[in-house]
Every structure is written in structure tokens, then in C-alpha cells.
Symmetry: C2
Amino acid sequence: MCPSRIPDGKQRGWIVPIGGAEDKESRRQILKRFVKLCGGRDAEIVIIPTASRKLDTGARYQDLFERLEVGHSTIVDFATREDGQRDEYLRAIENASGVFFTGGNQLRISTILGGTAAAKLIRNRNAQGMHVAGTSAGASILSEHMIAFGKEGSSPRAGSVRLAPGLGLTNRFIIDQHFRQRDRLGRLVAALAYNPFAIGIGLDEDTAAFIGPDETHEVEGTGGVTVVDASRVSFSSVDAVTEGQPICILGLIVHVLTAGATFNLHTRQASSTALVQLRD
Amino acid sequence: MCPSRIPDGKQRGWIVPIGGAEDKESRRQILKRFVKLCGGRDAEIVIIPTASRKLDTGARYQDLFERLEVGHSTIVDFATREDGQRDEYLRAIENASGVFFTGGNQLRISTILGGTAAAKLIRNRNAQGMHVAGTSAGASILSEHMIAFGKEGSSPRAGSVRLAPGLGLTNRFIIDQHFRQRDRLGRLVAALAYNPFAIGIGLDEDTAAFIGPDETHEVEGTGGVTVVDASRVSFSSVDAVTEGQPICILGLIVHVLTAGATFNLHTRQASSTALVQLRD
């Protein structure tokens, strides 16, 4: 889906993809920052554990958010497509300052929520200022084009990635998560080779991109965020290679960002200014 | 070691790093091309199995080269540092049109051959036109700075790579091999972060970079060659991070080349012209 138009005088809420396995016990930098963004003690967070098949995923995050002294949190577990129209669930999203998608399988979110009133409402509310975070599968779903599944390994190969429509909060990037831990550069590059308009964002575990209303994203957490900018690609053989063959792609620009470094999705400029200040 | 000066009126021989596990049974594109380069039926190839601890590695390659109708091949197994001064061995290199380093452990080659007359002779003879190929560990050893060992994983981390002096046929690149198969982008980027002057070359298995006297390398084989050009890096945090921490590095240029594509190590330009011609 395409992103909602941002109403005049409004600012889009933050979009926060997290690479999975975020710290839940010690420093909890990512969850803390999300809670603060949503208003802390005044926050109203809706937890959507739809991606997960575990019964306690929602409750586990509710407990985490309570320990971080969130004002109020609600679990909204969309289990069927009918749930995507339920007034009670829509009302919870209507009143939320933030939505949090848990991990699991991103295709569960897209098959259950895609095209429902709830998906549309999350897009609209984000365009009006509600913040949306997601971890692992919950990160993948945030963008218009989502990596549904794919093979792992550093070099891009034809057919190594399958895209599916995501929730569409933004169309500026394609997300991949557990990036370093599962060796996913190849499939991210393969996804960009199809159409270099988007920016590839590979999130390591316990690492998040906090994407502000101005399209600048700042890195939080203990790992790296690999940003792949294909806008200056001079050649890609993706149209000519057959399944399993390596893809030739020339002229990618790659940045590896760590906590404090930023990247602007609009200007495509990376900056280490904040990182250098942190250090000094 | 630094590369030898190329004598007036001479052309450096080709340097051919191979990513390991090159096809030995069916199309054998890489080995065939190397044999042709060395003169085919007139070729005189010296096989150096020093990196390997297996007793039959040299004989196996001799058999392979014989089946490819090489004029003549000799196994020169440097087993001790004294071997690096043996007249008989030096004479074999003196008469060779090509040298082939097998796989194994690159530190075995560097500890046994480093600083010997044999190492110097290989450098001199390469500068005068003798071709030198190496697979896996034999590829790593070819350059001035070699990756001795390191951790695997896509994001670069401090301490994830250890460099050692290599054979020094060239100082233009740092090689890594089994690239896709062993997820080595992070350690290659970490190596470049120390000093961006060199170009990182990540070779997939059954894939080689044929580097000509004009510093243009052409890809041969069934995988990809990931070229990482750090010359325009605007920031790297490698001086400030501690062991195991992720490295922030902004502004890498990355090309993934497949068979037929080229990259010039001097101008740092990638080209797909030959690849497009192959296709048409």
C-alpha cells in the first residue's frame, strides 16, 4: 500500500523498525526511547502480536512496557481478517500514541491485516502523528514493499528474495532484520536491484532506526544499520539472470551506521555528527 | 612486502585470486583460463601446495593441470623456511610461466615463505611477466596486506579481522575468499576501515578475479566478486571503538561483479560492457 498523505499542519509520527532481539532486560535503550517518544507516563501503546504464534508474546511486551512505566498499554491480537474491522480494536488504535508490532512471521501480519480498516487506520494515524515501531517481522511489515522471505548469503542471486506488499507507512525503504546474524546483504541487494528507487536498510539485532517526520533516521542500540543506496547504480543484470545465478550490480553506496549516526532518506546523506558528539 | 618494480619494457604478469572451491570436474572455466594465460601446451606451471596440510594437494592439482593439457607442471612444496632458499626450487620458479598456490592456511605460506629468496623471486618474476594464481588461502596471500583470520558476519566490528603481511604482488587490494559462503563482508569492511587506500575484493567460491597488467580485473566463474571501494569514505569510527563493538563507516562504494564484468583497480571504475556483450 502507498503511504497516507500527511494532513496540512500535521507531522508524521516516527517509524521505528527494530532488527529483532532487542534488549529487554538490562539497558533497554530501544524500548525506552520508543516509550519516551510515545509520551512515557502519558503513553497509550497498542501491542499487536499478530506475527507471532506464541500465545504469550503480547503479554510479554505488555509486561516490558509496564516495567518501563508506560501510561497504558493494550494488546490487540488480530487473529482473523474479521478482527481487522472490529470496532473495539479500531478504537484502541484511534486512541493510541504508539503501536508496537512484535516479531514472528511478517506474512501473518500482511495476510491478516492487508486491506482491512485497521491497516488503513494505522497508516492514517501514523500520517497524523502516531508512532509505529516493529521488531523483526514487525519491522519488515512497516514499508510498502516488504521482504517476505529469501535465501541468506552475502552475494545477491536471482530469486534469492521474495517481495510482498507491506503495511505501507513509507515507501522510502526496504527493511531487512537480524541482518548481521543471518547474513542477509545479498537478499537486500537483490531486492533493490529490481528497482533502485528504495533505500535498503539492514538492521542488526538489538538495533533500531528511529525515523523522524523529517525522514532522518537515527540509530539506537548495540549493533549496526547497513544502509544500501542504489540510486546511483549504473548497471544491474537482474533482468537477464536466471534463478540462482549471481546478479551483477555496479555502483551501490553503502553506509554502516552505529548508535548516534544518522541517514536522511530524502537527501540520502549519512552523517556521523551526533556520533562524534557522543564520543567527545 | 611491497610489490616489485616492473622493469622498463616489461609487463607485469596476471594476478589471479580465486575464491576457493573452483570447479575441477566439469566446465573448469577458471583453471582453463589460467592454463591458457600461461601458454597452454607451452605452459610451465609450478604448483605450491604449502598452505595445505594434506599430502595429496599438489598431486591433485598436477593431475588437474595435466588433464587440461598443460605443457608441464611441477610441484614445489615449501615445507620449511630453508626450502625457500633451495636452488632446485628457485630454478623451477625461474623457469615457470605461471605459479599456482593451493588452498589451506594462508599463515602457513606467510610464515614459511615470508622473507625468503623464493618469495622475492616470485614477486620479481611476476613483475617481469610470470602469472600467479592462488585459490582460497592462496588468494589471500597474493596481496601486500592479507586477512590472516577473522570473525564472520555482515556488519563490521572492531577486532573482527586480523591483518598480516602477505606475499606483496600488489598493494592495491585486500582479498577475502569463500565470500558469500562464509559471510565475510563485515571483516573485509573492517580491514578497509583501518586504512581506506586499498580496494576490498570479496571472492565467492568458484569465482576468480583475473587482474591484468593494466590493473583491470575481469571476473570469471559462477559466483560474484564484491568490490568495496573505501576511497570516498567520509567517516570511520574504527579508531574509537572497542573490541566487538560495531564500526560506523559512511560512504563505501560497492559493486557486485559477475562473469564478464570488470573493475579497474587504478581508476576504480566498474564496467559491465563485456557482460552485456556476452549476453547479446
